[in-house]
């Protein structure tokens, strides 16, 4: 069985780790001190680039690359730490904030040193009252100990950290939505470009990083790039010749919830399979796995045939899904996929910010269609197509073959694909919220179509057996197209 590899969470359960002194005893701030003593800011940026660290917030974009886009000559530059953890199924940042806030502060300090940033805003979810309280207390302590403020440790480095509470809007987890919200406006995402790295909060260059990404920095600096890159697979991107290295290095805080015996956060090296993770979390609660959502509710669902997919950024992308924020939700054989989709679509219809028409009108429309199907009023019709052949009476004529058309299923796919097209990966909205809606809608439908059809046919929620409900691999579009990446030798 795969063993947990606790790095970020190593000292999480140490009593009093939220205080400066206990954190200091467990190597706390030593890595920041090493950074300012031994490295130039550019060295750190290079280390982060070499480490292959990918952003843990959802997009999985290379952190080093993101930093390289920030213009050096425009000041001030801001750091926004994204602690607006709202994706259903994700809850790893909460524990960092509540139990080990100094680790985040250390990560922020290293980022600020590398990028020459003096002001950091931690955008923290409005509902995280305890997390905000703990972080505020830790920041106060760090100021008192001289690790924040002006002229830190006599190096001339100035860093201020402010916490900024959100107010319950999911869309503020999107980086430009977060920036708008931070500026005191509605959290409606901006058009990109300009990217936040060039023009972000207060029209100044801004680095937006997830809590988990920043918490990785002390370990990259402290233990070195070589140590860090040993963890997790590095694939070869075969679009290039010779294959270009595509690192999925480090550990990930996998949040697993739903029908497993021991839900929780497990810190594991990237690259274990979905089935292995379910095993680590105490196995499935119930008889068998019906479906797994691999990366928060926006990620396309995986069927039981796809449980051998490795849970890292590259593998899941090539399997037509995504790792996202690492929130894994498991469903067992008793679950009805239509019902699950309805729940998720209610979420998205509620959380659409209302800026772009396809999303504002499309999300409630999708929700209403799924609601109609779940209520047993799904629309279908039976048509007789004139097909010529040997008819029942033995003579040449219309065979009268009938075909059932599930109009609502076609409509559902069409509406979802018009918010964002999952096949071409183009969206008709400003931000990626559009694709976060149509991905689940279309993937649930295509992968569990028999259950949708049965529900419409029977006129009520009908749960089929796992085997009957799942579209077999030979007809599963995603399974057919998926590519299993190969590790570099």
């Amino acid at each position: 069985m795969v063993q947990e590899k606790r790095i970020l969470y190593e000292h999480l359960d140490v009593p009093g780790i939220n205080t400066f002194d206990v954190f200091r005893q467990h190597d706390g701030y030593a890595r920041f001190e090493k950074a300012i003593a031994e490295y130039q800011p550019d060295d750190i940026a290079k280390m982060v680039m070499d480490s292959g660290l990918k952003g843990r917030g959802g997009a999985g974009f290379s952190t080093g690359l993101k930093w390289s886009f920030v213009p050096k000559d425009i000041k001030p530059c801001y750091l926004c730490c994204n602690a607006d953890e709202s994706e259903p199924g994700t809850f790893s940042n909460r524990y960092v904030l509540e139990k080990n806030p100094h680790l985040l502060i250390e990560g922020i300090l290293i980022c600020c040193y590398a990028m020459g940033i003096e002001t950091t805003y931690v955008y923290i979810r409005g509902e995280f009252t305890l997390g905000k309280k703990m972080l505020d207390a830790a920041i106060k302590e760090a100021y008192a100990k001289g690790y924040l403020g002006k002229n830190i440790r006599g190096t001339g480095l100035n860093v201020d950290i402010y916490t900024h509470p959100g107010a319950g809007a999911y869309i503020c987890g999107e980086e430009t939505g977060l920036i708008e919200s931070l500026e005191g406006k509605r959290g409606q995402p901006r058009n990109k470009p300009p990217f936040p790295a060039v023009e972000g909060v207060f029209r100044k260059p801004t680095v937006v990083q997830n809590v988990e990404t920043l918490c990785n920095l002390p370990f990259i600096v402290g233990e070195g790039v070589e140590w860090y890159t040993q963890m997790g697979p590095t694939y070869g991107d075969t679009r290039f010749d010779p294959p270009k290295p595509d690192p999925n290095t480090g550990t990930k805080l996998y949040c697993i919830s739903g029908d497993v015996n021991k839900p929780g956060v497990y810190e594991l090296e990237l690259g274990l399979t979905c089935a292995e993770l379910v095993e680590v979390a105490g196995g499935v609660r119930g008889q068998e796995v019906k479906a797994v959502i691999p990366g928060g509710s926006s990620a396309p669902i995986l069927t039981r045939y796809e449980l051998d997919t490795r849970l890292d950024f590259t593998s899941l992308t090539l399997a037509k899904s995504m790792l996202g924020s690492g929130g894994i939700i498991v469903m067992n054989e008793t679950r009805n996929i239509v019902d699950c989709l309805l729940n998720i679509m209610k979420f998205y219809a509620h959380e659409s910010c209302g800026q772009c028409t396809p999303c504002r009108w499309g999300t409630p429309w999708v929700r209403d269609i799924v609601q109609r199907i779940a209520d047993g009023n799904g629309r279908k019709s039976t048509i007789t197509r004139p097909r010529f052949g040997i008819a029942e009476n033995g003579r040449w004529g219309d065979t009268g073959e009938t075909e059932e058309i599930y109009e609502d299923l076609d409509l559902l796919e069409s509406v979802a694909n018009n918010i964002a097209n999952v096949d071409t990966m183009t969206w008709n909205t400003i931000c990626v919220f559009g694709i976060a809606v149509s991905w689940p809608a279309v993937s649930y439908l295509r992968k569990f179509r028999p259950e949708f059809e049965a529900t419409i046919r029977e006129g009520q929620l009908t749960t089929l057996s796992v085997e009957a409900a799942t579209v077999p691999p030979e007809e599963n579009y995603a399974y057919q197209q998926r590519i299993v990446p190969r590790e570099l030798e």
Partner: protein, 172 residues
């Protein structure tokens, strides 16, 4: 200016303690408008909800048009535009909680408080007659490992069953 308008504008002031907190947080931002969310949180904590008087006051403090404050208040679900009960009970009903029977918890709360669930446009629907509780459904509270969860004001309660809910309500 009509008398009514004057009344609205003078009806709300920060308490001394909150004024101090506001003075501190306004210094965090290069533009005043950016302090909108924390200021509204602070004002809501004092007034119980964001009344027109509060909005006018905040607009004056941050030197922005009233419309901008209203714009923000209507966007974020955590700001209440009408009075709510002393205890606001938020029940998470997103997928991981739904898989762990949050419906049972919600139904139990509805029966025990004999109230309906508040909707965004009608908070009164979820408020009990004695104005002690407001029951509302919210989206994911990021505690899926300990589902089902509810939040009562600022406190999170985990792994709930109807019995545990009873205990929580009894202790309030």
């Amino acid at each position: 200016m009509s008398e009514e308008l004057i009344q609205i504008q003078t009806a709300f002031r920060f308490s001394e303690e909150n004024q101090r907190e506001f003075d501190e947080l306004i210094g965090h931002y290069p533009v005043k408008e950016a302090a909108m969310l924390p200021t509204l949180h602070l004002a809501q904590k004092q007034a119980g909800y964001v009344s027109p008087a509060v909005m006018t006051y905040v607009a004056e403090l941050l030197e922005v048009p009233l419309m901008k404050v209203k714009d923000v208040v209507t966007f974020y679900p955590m700001f209440f535009e009408e009075p709510v009960g002393e205890y606001v009970i938020r029940v998470c009903h997103t997928l991981p909680c739904a898989l762990r029977d949050c419906k049972v918890v919600l139904e139990h709360l509805k029966a025990r408080l004999s109230t309906d669930v508040a909707s965004e446009t009608d908070l009164g629907k979820g408020t009990t007659a004695d104005e002690k509780f407001t029951l509302m459904k919210v989206e994911c509270l990021a505690s899926c490992d300990v589902a089902p969860v509810i939040m009562v004001n600022d406190d999170l309660y985990k792994n709930l069953t109807p019995e545990k809910v009873d205990k929580i309500l009894d202790n309030l």
